[in-house]
Symmetry: C2
Subunit: 305 residues, 2 copies
């Protein structure tokens, strides 16, 4: 495995067997050694004494009327069951005041936390967000209930089971025929605001293999044909629930025909320019930080790995 | 790319740009050259004159009161826009009678059709099934509407957008330390009924990298630790909407500790036994047919590819 990406080193045992027992989960939530990670508006509680760390609380540290949903069971570690909880604004203010910790955006948390703790943030944020957006049954429209500690929602009305979704995204560094240049793009939105270029990416469609999605996305965004798609590594990306599937591909054509609705610019960049950019020393190219798999794809290509 | 798997050679241009224009889609659905692929209870219309082929109909071949949903736009090919439609039982009987074609289970269709036509079946079946199960908004419970020819559902009540889901599944052949044997399992359900052994597989969880999901699934189902996970190839599997991510991994341990709730048996099989089974000549081992990526993973390992 590639040295784990940010968000990809979750140490918890998710307890696939244990979580089938609703009574066991409820009992675990009452145990004094159980640990609770609070979230407020999808921001996670972090301490920083001395280094950034997750703000786990024990059951008696949680304002009993401050929860906005039932706890989500993340998994087991060091003999304790770990949960994520969502708190309302009053409870969040109380917790910050009482613990001297702070609720932090999860992307910033991923940048500052050690790998295993970032992995826990990824699982928790993706699950909490999914539950927020799936309170009703998509089959019949009636309210659903959290089951298995959050790994399923059940509809009492029509008996449908709904499972959390993970959306596969292909993200691709394309190298030119000579292997001297790579294709990077700036999409509208965040990359444009940051004047940054990154690997081209897009959600997979239904009925596609990974290699087909790569070819379609690169054709759509840049008008370039690709061949020899190679898998590189993958990264969970909990904004809200993507699986980034990193690939490197070879271009079969050269002339760029950009999708101007989605992209502000797509260019071929030389290896020397990319190497400068990875060190933050290029005047014309800025690339994503190591938080994102894009950085590592670009680096692997530039280093000839 | 691996020689395309069944369901993975869809030739349609999905028209990501064109389908953002609802008026364009509606106009295309009226054109005499547009093509419609009927489904009845998720079975697809096939002809067989002389070989199995998709049962495309032109607009005037469709009973106007027989549709159970608005057409789903699949994409463009040969100058025509192609749609999938769902028909009720009366219309299905009428179509079968009039065309001398038959509605066929999509797995059987995948086995008999040429690759590109199987790819169209995969896209169509996954999309139709998703729409059947997502008539209501999971955020607010109100009815949603099909948009972009079926690539989105929109909630007029709360303005939420919902996109078709694709569920990543890892499927893995694990080889032992010596490289002489591989780990195959028989899960409860279909494999058990068919007395078949296959590569171990499971849905990815939220907040996991592919390599992490592989390690978790093999540990859960077989109690085996793995290392050196290598990506092999991928296959869309529209039952209902999986993306099979095929991997080969090395075992770091030997003793099997099976999850008896999910599996009926897990065993190490020798290369010679597996090679016999791939030819259908083993008395103690049956493996999946070439329809499934599992066949190709097992074959790649056995052939030392």
């Amino acid at each position: 495995m590639y040295p784990p990406h940010t968000f990809a080193a979750n140490p918890l045992d998710r307890g696939e067997v244990e979580r089938r027992d609703e009574g066991w989960i409820a009992a675990q939530a009452q145990l004094p050694q159980s640990q609770f990670l609070p979230f407020s508006n999808l921001n996670v509680l972090l301490g920083d004494d001395p280094a950034p760390t997750l703000g786990w609380l024990s059951p008696d540290g949680i304002p009993s009327d401050g929860l906005t949903s039932t706890p989500t069971m993340l998994g087991m570690m060091d003999g304790a069951t770990h949960f994520a909880i969502e708190v309302n604004e009053d409870a969040a203010a109380f917790i910050e005041d009482w613990t001297d910790m702070r609720f932090v955006d999860c992307r910033a948390a991923g940048e500052s936390l050690p790998g295993p703790e970032g992995g826990i943030v990824a699982q928790a944020r993706a699950q909490l967000d999914w539950h927020r957006r799936h309170r009703f049954c998509s089959v019949c429209g009636q309210p659903t209930e959290k089951r298995r500690g959050g790994q399923m929602r059940f509809c009492p009305a029509c008996k449908a089971q709904h499972f959390p979704r993970t959306d596969p995204v292909v993200i691709v560094v394309v190298e030119d025929k000579e292997g001297d240049r790579c294709l990077l793009g700036q999409s509208r939105g965040r990359l444009q605001r940051m004047r940054m270029y990154s690997a081209l990416a897009g959600f997979m469609d239904q009925g596609e293999a990974i290699e087909e999605a790569v070819a379609r996305e690169i054709m759509e965004e840049a008008g370039i044909e690709v061949k020899n798609v190679r898998y590189h590594s993958s990264q969970p990306w909990p904004f809200p629930s993507s699986l980034m599937i990193g690939c490197i591909a070879e271009a079969a054509t050269t002339d760029i025909n950009m999708d101007a609705e989605e992209m502000t610019d797509v260019q071929w960049f030389t290896r020397s320019e990319v190497l400068l950019a990875l060190k933050g020393k290029s005047e014309r190219l800025t690339v994503p930080a190591p938080l994102a798999i894009a950085h590592h794809l670009i680096k692997s290509w530039a280093m000839g790995e």
